[in-house]
Amino acid sequence: MANYKPLIPTLVIYTILIAIGALVPGMWQPVMFVLFYVAIGQALNIFLGFTGYVNFGYVALLGVGAYGMGVALKYYTYLGVGAIVLGVILAVFFALLLSLAVGGVALRLRGAYFAIATIGVNEGLKHLIEGARIWGGSHGIILSGTLRKAFGSEFANYLSTFVADVFLIAIVVISGIVTIYILNNRIGYALLALREDEDAAKVMGINVTKYKLIAFIISSVIAALIGASAWTLKMTYVFPSDVFAIGYTVEAIVIVMLGGAGTLLGPLIGGIIYGVLKYYLSVILPGLQLLILAPLLIVIVVLFPEGIIGYVKKKLRYTSVFEYVM
């Protein structure tokens, strides 16, 4: 039975967050910081949460998205605003290419093989770009000058401060809607079945490879769009060592597992908690974030595998608010 009620709390939380950012002075940047983490959690959740497969090369998808936008803005600047549209197209195209290459090969196999295949994606791509000196190699793509020359400094500023943020907000909202759509759709049912027991799902006639690939591609495209907006448009540079940094993969995994894998509200709650904590902790503990995240992830996996929303859902069963939590 289709249940779209959980969309209400989700949209309410989005609205509250954006309202805080817009109305409280000085809160816009912190809210965008948190929304970035919500976004990478939501995108990863569509794959990791729904299939139970781990993509250790997750950040590479944000990376290729960042490169898609970067290449368009750097080398096709003469298209004017059209370059941004081209950037979105390229980001999506790169994500499709990468997810089809990796997913098409490794998703035919079981989880362990897929995880093994993804662990090299990140480093492999980084070294390809650096080693073959593609798109500036290890020097990356620096856009601030190019953008100022092409669009004037006022519009270039507007692009990186306003357009990039609105773009990210749109991605967050859309990926939330996509998540609940999948949960209520035959794709979601098929994914649920294969996550619980892949062999049984196969015997029931579900084309498991197809549904895994669908989830992987959706997750990858959203991730690439996050990279294109929150990184390239906002920061106006793309460095291979930044956009292929494994830390973001770990953060996204922690957000999904903390909030509750495979749920709608999980990555949202996880992302808010993580984003707020990081915003305040990174001032106190610079450089120690992975040292804190790693044991946290171990503790969640061993003691608390269902995450916050999974736990809350169990507690709220048989109450009237249950159908609003998903």
Partner: protein
């Protein structure tokens, strides 16, 4: 000129391949017995490399003597990790074990960074070299090769000739059947996990015998990727397959390094890493059960 260079590189590749093979055996052993992929594999190689480095720098202990020291450190680490984390996850979904081993690897790396910093370090232990018509090989590299072959042979004999080794093979074959026969499967899990980690830490010492520089807390990532390529090549669950596959990988890697170096305008070193990744995808596409038969 190129032919000589290629011959030298292939010889180095074969020698390095032996080290790679041993560095992957632990991964395959753990997967074969516990069905757990140790995603944090490289971090343990890093611990071994630092063991050799600190023993040499602080106490002037020859790196060869560090081999048993590293094994003991690895066994202890393996026991602690097994009883604190892995034991609770043996029957958990694959997702849990993948995330847990990944996080353990990160934790080890980050803790090492706090303790030792993130600088690249190295040592120089010169014991002469062997002259061949087309190249000279430092004896340390030959020592690394010989050690890894000897250690692999000892592990093989232990598996084949001792009662405990037979018990481990029984668990690999059929977990429930082994339990019915009175084998304490949990103890075998603990033993295999520790032995797997022990072999991996030990191989870190051999890695530094081959290349005594570039020791860094993040050096493991590269070896994790290589070990995965090798393990898949060898059939993932078979330590012996892994050992042979190590040779193939060493030859392919060093051969491609020479050939990539011929292309103007590229950095062959970075590209060999992309080659390993591409190779992994190709093997998974063509024959995921391993080129050497495997399971």
């Amino acid at each position: 000129m190129i032919a000589e260079q290629l011959a030298a590189n292939l010889l180095y590749g074969a020698i390095l391949g032996g080290v790679y093979g041993l560095a992957t055996m632990g991964l395959s052993l753990i997967f074969g017995v516990l069905r757990i992929v140790n995603v944090g594999h490289g971090a343990f190689i890093m611990i071994g490399a630092f063991t050799a480095y600190w023993m040499f720098i602080l106490y002037s202990i020859a790196p060869v003597v560090s081999i048993p020291i590293a094994l003991v450190i690895g066994l202890a680490l393996g026991f602690v990790i097994f009883y604190s984390v892995i034991k609770r996850l043996v029957d958990a979904p694959e997702l849990s074990t993948l995330l847990a081993t990944f996080a353990i690897g990160l934790l080890i790396e980050e803790a090492a960074k706090v303790a030792w910093g993130s600088d690249y370090v190295g040592y120089s232990w010169d014991i002469g070299s062997l002259s061949l018509p087309f190249t000279t090989i430092p004896l340390t590299k030959i020592l690394a090769f010989v050690s890894s072959v000897v250690i692999a042979a000892v592990v093989y004999l232990w598996f084949q000739k001792t009662k405990l080794g037979a018990a481990v093979r029984a668990v690999v074959e059929d977990r429930d059947g082994a339990m019915v026969c009175g084998i304490n499967v949990n103890r075998i899990f603990a033993l295999s996990f520790s032995l797997g980690i022990g072999l991996t830490v030990l191989s870190g010492v051999l890695v530094t015998l081959f290349v005594p520089v570039g020791i860094n807390v993040y050096m493991g990532g590269e070896y994790t990727l290589k070990a995965f390529v090798i393990a898949v090549l060898g059939g993932l669950a078979s330590p012996w397959g892994a050992f042979y596959a190590g040779f193939i990988f060493g030859l392919l890697e060093n051969g491609s390094y020479t050939l990539l170096g011929l292309i103007p305008g590229v950095e062959p070193f970075g590209l060999t890493r992309f080659v390993s990744f591409a190779m992994l995808l190709i093997i998974l596409l063509i024959k995921p059960s391993g080129l050497l038969g495997g399971e």
